[in-house]
């Protein structure tokens, strides 16, 4: 089922949580809503589910205006961060709940419900736990039950709100891979919220980066990482360093020196230079480079991260060096970014 969010605005007590957000989700796609807390990602997910009503704008499921429909009628599967299982029901009853509350002919007979529940338990790899209660399961198992419960109603869209947020790192990684497999097997249109960029980039077909109630960028993992379209996205996704610079006659200047980077298409004026700490070229001499004094040096797994103090303005940037590189011990290091991007200072 395609989902289209059209110019949606949501206010809570006059405080805008989302400003005019539009998003097209293709049928069968796995989409991640990524952003820091307070960016509106969960609000957007809850609006799609119908747990909140938009202040303005509409949400379409296919061609149908879903904003007119109640949560019950929308037929979405929603998975909560803290599972929200019914703790007085067995695992099988939890999964069958959505079918049991139906009325009339759409309600399958009890035997069929039981069969569906055990089928779904197989799918989420929890066969044989039908009679357990949620309190007797681990966190990862509970979240699998929650997912099976959401899928039991054959939802048009599957929505997951930080589904792995409450689990430890090991289980997270495992469930991430497994969610991808389930998605590929069942083909549900799936939207999930996360603040973990690794999770978003690894799992999703497309990532929606959000900040302060707006969508900053929508794209594949490659788009988002290689061609960020705003300083926020550059800073939020992956490691980044930035420096205030000046563009003059197609050349980039740091304080009073050119740094050897040409920017022929950039307008003159103040700008911020972004680059990745691992993507730098170290230089010996310095005519046209960025030079700084080593202020701090930290060993991070396979590399060494060095903090440089640049110029007299007390600007600090981080770059990464090979562990055995002599420059790490030198007091003065000169470098030039490999790939970089300029954003004019507003």
């Amino acid at each position: 089922m395609e989902v289209r969010v059209a110019n949606v605005r949501k206010e809570f007590d006059r405080f805008p949580a989302l400003h005019d957000v539009s998003l097209d989700i293709k049928s069968g796609e796995l989409i991640a809503l990524l952003g820091p807390s307070g960016s509106g990602k969960t609000t957007l997910l809850r609006l799609i589910a119908g747990l909140e009503r938009p202040t303005r704008g509409k949400i379409f499921f296919g061609d149908e205006d879903a904003s007119q429909r109640s949560i019950q009628e929308r037929n979405v599967g929603f998975v909560f961060q803290h599972y929200a299982l019914f703790r007085h029901m067995t695992v099988a009853d939890n999964i069958g709940f959505g079918l049991k509350v139906r009325h009339g002919p759409s309600r399958p007979p009890a035997q069929e419900i039981r069969r569906r529940a055990s089928e779904l338990l197989d799918l989420v790899q929890l066969s044989g736990l039908e009679k357990r209660y949620p309190a007797q399961l681990s966190g990862g198992q509970r979240q699998r039950v929650a997912l099976a419960r959401a899928m039991a109603i054959e939802p048009k869209v599957l929505l997951l709100d930080e589904p792995f947020g409450a689990l430890d790192a090991q289980v997270r990684r495992e469930l991430r891979r497994w969610l991808r497999e389930i998605h590929d097997a069942t083909g549900h249109t799936t939207v999930f919220v996360t603040h973990d960029q690794e999770e978003a980039l690894e799992l999703a077909d497309r990532v929606v980066v959000m900040s302060q109630g707006r969508i900053e960028q929508v794209g594949t993992a490659d788009d988002i990482y290689d061609t960020p379209n705003s300083p926020f996205v550059y800073g939020f996704i992956g490691e980044s360093s930035s420096l205030p610079v000046k563009v003059e006659n197609g050349e980039i200047w740091l304080a009073d020196r050119p740094i050897g980077l040409a920017a022929p298409h950039e307008p003159s004026g103040d700008a911020t230079l972004f680059f990745r700490p691992h993507d730098v070229e170290l230089l010996d001499g310095c005519s046209g480079c960025i030079a700084g004094t080593v202020a701090a040096s930290r060993r991070v797994a396979g590399t060494r991260r060095v903090e440089l103090e640049i110029g007299g303005e007390r600007q600090r940037v981080e770059i990464e060096l090979p562990v055995d590189h002599p420059a790490a011990q030198k007091s003065r290091v000169a470098f030039r970014p490999g790939r970089w991007k300029l954003f004019p200072t507003a």
């Binding site: 119908g50 747990l51 949560i71 909560f80 703790r87 007085h88 959505g98 007797q136 419960r149």
Partner: protein, 283 residues
């Protein structure tokens, strides 16, 4: 480093960093013995001195049986009424924000604080045939004061806070997401209440019921004013005990008390077992 050999078998004292186990347990046992155990065993001892045939004669006396029926029957009905309306009051207090909510919240505790005789007199004044409410009910043929119905009303008044105060905290803990999950799965508001919320509250409701019931069985002060105290009709067992005491018929008084004690104990035991069972299941 040496490790202590693992001790086999049952130990009632777990090693713990929290100090004071011996002291607090000792104090609790001594306290319970002084306050509850000694008086109650005295009661049993006195009624045991009675001899079985006499005890049986008092126990099967029609007036005793009637009084026990009235006491337990009215307490049961009142507790049942309180379960329904107490849960409703708790719901309103937990779920809605309205002006005066705190006042209503405080009002619930009044029956705890008010001298029960005052409550009894106030209720009697209201529900007597010439009272404010009694006057309105009279033409409908409903007599409240001086009937078992009056007893029920007094016990409803006394028992309300027990239900509200046991259900309220559990209701506050209900996770909003659980209701939302049920709604996304297609459950209507009614289905959410009956299938999700109510089963979660059931243990608390049962506790509230048993507290209100136990309180109702033992209530004396408020009931004697409104009940009219007609033997076989509206005479409660605690009153009968007092009557026997005033007749210096101590054996009869202790016998009735012992029967009440046994009945209450059995009922509370059943309720407790039901709770342990549900707690084990739902964790």
């Amino acid at each position: 480093m040496t490790t202590a050999p693992a001790q086999a078998g049952w130990r009632f004292r777990q090693p713990s960093v929290i100090p004071g186990f011996g002291l607090t347990l000792g104090f609790s046992l001594a306290y319970l013995t002084l306050i509850i155990l000694i008086p109650l065993s005295g009661l049993l001892w006195r009624s045991a001195a009675l001899g079985w045939p006499e005890f049986w004669a008092i126990a099967t006396d029609r007036r005793t049986i009637k009084a026990l029926e009235i006491s337990f029957g009215t307490a049961f009905i009142a507790a049942a009424v309180n379960v329904v309306f107490g849960t409703l009051v708790a719901w309103v207090l937990v779920r809605y924000r309205f002006p005066g909510r705190r006042i209503v919240d405080a009002m619930v505790d009044l029956p705890f604080a008010l001298p029960t005789a005052v409550a009894g007199i106030a209720l009697t004044t209201l529900y007597a045939p010439n009272g404010w409410i009694g006057k309105l009910l009279m033409p409908l043929g409903i007599k409240v004061a001086y009937t078992p119905l009056g007893i029920v009303i007094a016990l409803v008044f006394i028992g309300l806070p027990f239900v509200v105060r046991t259900v309220q905290p559990i209701m506050e803990e209900i996770d909003k997401e659980v209701e939302e999950a049920a709604a996304t799965l297609g459950a209507s508001r009614f289905q959410i209440i009956t299938r999700i919320l109510f089963p979660g509250l059931a243990p608390a409701i049962v506790t509230g019921f048993s507290l209100a019931f136990a309180r109702g069985v033992g209530e004396y002060g408020s009931v004697i004013f409104i009940a009219g105290n007609l033997p076989y009709k509206s005479e409660i067992a605690p009153l009968l005990i007092v009557i026997r005491l005033e007749e210096y018929n101590y054996p009869a008084a202790t016998a009735i008390a012992a029967i009440m004690l046994a009945l209450s104990f059995v009922m509370l035991l059943v309720v407790n077992l039901a709770q342990t069972w549900s707690r084990k299941r739902y964790g």
